[in-house]
């Protein structure tokens, strides 16, 4: 069981993010974090603790003020804006609290849009989308409009869109935030399932009950990582971090 955790997909070393305001806001304060392939972890903390900034920096949507970020070994600092966009297109998947689905497109097209900027042809995009929908258990909704399906199903569509290109890492920002708790649990179960099938997933949440279900929890407060369950269990066997 050590094989899936062999190589790091995300490495952050003393990452600092300061927003230039008066007074300057330190959103991330020397964050060190490594996510290895095949991991499923929660980044948990109260609002204002820097979770969203961390997600943006992890997802290359924003650059750190200092420190280094590597995605699949590639140093973000050395890459141009265009290269980062291409990196996101091929190696990073995003899931948002508000789903962000296009209402006038079918579920299948929405999922296929996950590959829009990766250079995959239309037919291949659709094929991959159908496959991804199957993985999230929504193959029967492919032709529906997103307005005609439930909130939980919408989030599954968004997850399928994030997974469609088989990215190295999936970043989920409060994926259960807009859902009732039962639906939220089903989404977490889906993420676990996908993780077991090989996906590397980072879930950002303020919800302790969601975080508690995941094998690794990274706790943030005031821009710092104050606890990391894998660090606590580092010497331990991997088994006990998994439910």
């Amino acid at each position: 069981m050590t094989a899936p955790f062999s190589w790091p997909v995300l490495e952050m070393a003393s990452v600092v993010k300061v927003y230039a305001s008066d007074p300057p806001v330190v959103a991330l304060d020397h964050v060190d974090l490594t996510v290895r392939g095949g991991e499923l972890l929660a980044i948990v903390g109260p609002s204002g603790s820097g979770k969203t900034t961390l997600l943006h920096v992890m997802g290359t949507l924003d650059r750190p003020t200092s420190g280094s970020v590597r995605i699949t070994g590639l140093d973000v600092e050395l890459m141009s804006e265009r290269q980062l966009a291409a990196l996101r297109a091929t190696r990073i998947g995003f899931v948002f609290q508000n789903f962000y689905l296009a209402e006038h497109e079918s579920v299948l097209e929405n999922v296929a849009d996950g590959l829009l900027y990766s250079g995959v042809g239309t037919a291949d995009r659709r094929r991959a989308a159908a496959e991804a929908l199957e993985r999230v258990g929504l193959a029967h909704r492919a032709r529906f409009d997103p307005t005609r399906i439930s909130g939980g199903e919408r989030q599954r569509v968004a997850i399928a869109r994030a997974l469609v290109g088989r990215p190295a890492i999936v970043l989920a920002d409060e994926p259960t935030g807009n859902l009732d708790s039962a639906t939220g649990i089903s989404i977490v179960a889906l993420l676990e399932e996908l993780n077991e099938a090989g996906a590397t997933i980072v879930v950002i949440t303020h919800d302790q009950s969601v975080a508690g279900r995941l094998p690794r929890q990274v706790r943030m407060l005031d821009g710092r990582i104050v606890a990391d369950s894998i660090a606590l269990a580092a010497s331990d066997a991997r088994g006990n971090s998994h439910r």
Binding site: G73, G121, T122, R166
Partner: protein, 418 residues
């Protein structure tokens, strides 16, 4: 998690070199994909898109219709001129060196008729005198009409038809009988020939035997009352000198005849003779007419400008409203140029759709009016090509600033939930 493992391990060995290379390639959207994405943006706000495209449509329709109508009316006029023949030459008495009205010799028509390629000659002579419906009409109400002595073949030579009644003949030419030009008949209030119908010419009654149709090539006949040469001499103190001679020649010889007409008409004073070619003058007039279109084209341009403002407006609003879409697309891997081209394509598409509707409307308007007028339907390629091009350019210009704004928006700001 097998796929990228080997590659990543490789990059870890020499991370800097690996990262400095463009390890991930930026892909352009295929045109079909780009159009689908842009069309999706428009479909999402159908009504607003339609309304802002309407402005462009009205402007383009106005321009296409103006150009189409002027081209069609010109084609109609040219067809009419061709039908009437381009071989008519008109000889008129000009002015002497001292500014007096010159006279054509009485023998001029006969001399011209002897020119080889001349096929027909007819002539009129201006008679002094006023025309009234009856002696009771106030003498100052002349209606701007004149009396012309006319030869018997005149309608055939100038291509005018006798609308009502009959033209002068050898018998009536010496009697107090007259034929009315189209405008003269209208101004005198005569539209039918009744037996005994008569008008008051220079102090005596003349019987009306016919009314002519409007003459395109010799419009001066329209405002005249025509009488026979003999009658004019007998009853109206006419001196018998022709003032205008209408000459038909073989079409291929018109230029040659034109060259010798003045000398033939008045060998003693050829400079006192004016020779003109009415069909050529009318063609020039048809060309000059399009200058009037400037005003309407200007109005069309203003409509287009308003349309452009409409498109720019909807695109700016669209960028504000679609912040989260922009953020999502950036997260999915869209570059700034992907976003820019998407919004630019949307604006161009909107404008071109409006333009195409406008072209269709302009063509329909032209076709309807031209058909009603009996003209050939002509929509010059400048009209529809220019309309289409204008719409495209306007779309691109109007979409430029919104597209730049959309592309400039940082993804983190675009994704912020308020």
């Amino acid at each position: 998690m097998t796929p990228p493992a080997t590659e990543v391990l490789a990059t870890r060995e020499r991370p800097v070199a690996a990262a400095a290379r463009p390890v991930v390639e930026v892909r352009r959207l295929q045109p079909s994909t780009l159009f689908r994405v842009a069309a999706l943006g428009l479909r999402t706000r159908k009504l607003r898109a339609a309304l802002s495209a309407l402005g462009i449509a009205i402007g383009v329709a106005a321009i296409v219709a103006v150009l189409g109508l002027s081209a069609s009316s010109k084609a109609g006029l040219l067809a009419e001129i061709n039908r009437l023949g381009t071989n008519l030459l008109v000889v008129t008495n000009g002015q002497t060196l001292f500014g007096h009205t010159a006279e054509l010799p009485e023998q001029a028509p006969a001399m011209i008729a002897r020119i080889g390629p001349v096929t027909q000659t007819s002539y009129t002579g201006t008679v002094t005198g006023d025309v009234y419906r009856s002696p009771l009409v106030n003498p100052i109400t002349t209606n701007g009409l004149g009396i012309e002595a006319a030869s018997l073949g005149l309608p055939r030579t100038v291509g005018a038809k006798v609308k009502k009644g009959t033209y002068l003949n050898a018998a009536t030419a010496s009697q107090p009988v007259c034929v009315l030009g189209a405008v003269a008949a209208q101004r005198l209030g005569i539209d039918h020939i009744y037996p005994g119908e008569r008008i008051w010419l220079d102090g005596q009654w003349f019987y009306v035997t016919g009314i002519l149709s409007p003459s395109v090539l010799a419009p001066q006949i329209d405002t005249s009352v025509l009488v026979g040469f003999k009658a004019a001499e007998t009853y109206l103190q006419f001196d018998g000198h022709p003032s205008t001679i209408y000459v038909r020649a073989y079409t291929t010889q018109v230029t040659a005849v034109h060259a010798v007409l003045a000398d033939t008409a008045n060998p003693q004073a050829p400079n006192d003779v004016d020779v003109s070619e009415p069909s050529a003058a009318l063609v020039a007039q048809a060309d000059a007419k399009s200058a009037l279109n400037g005003l309407f084209l200007g109005l069309g341009a203003v409509a287009l400008l308003i349309g452009a403002v409409g498109v720019a407006n909807i695109m700016v609003i669209s960028v504000l409203e679609r912040r989260s879409e922009i953020g999502l697309r950036r997260a999915l891997g869209a570059t700034r140029s992907h976003i820019r081209i998407q919004f630019l394509t949307e604006a161009a598409m909107l404008s071109v759709l409006g333009g195409m509707v406008g072209i269709a409307a302009g063509v329909v308007a032209t076709a309807t009016y031209a058909t009603a007028k009996g003209w050939a339907i002509v929509v010059p390629s400048l009209a529809w090509g220019g309309g289409f091009g204008a719409a495209l350019v306007i779309g691109l210009i109007a979409g430029l600033i919104p597209a730049l704004r959309a592309a400039r928006m940082p993804p983190t700001e675009a994704l912020r939930t308020v």
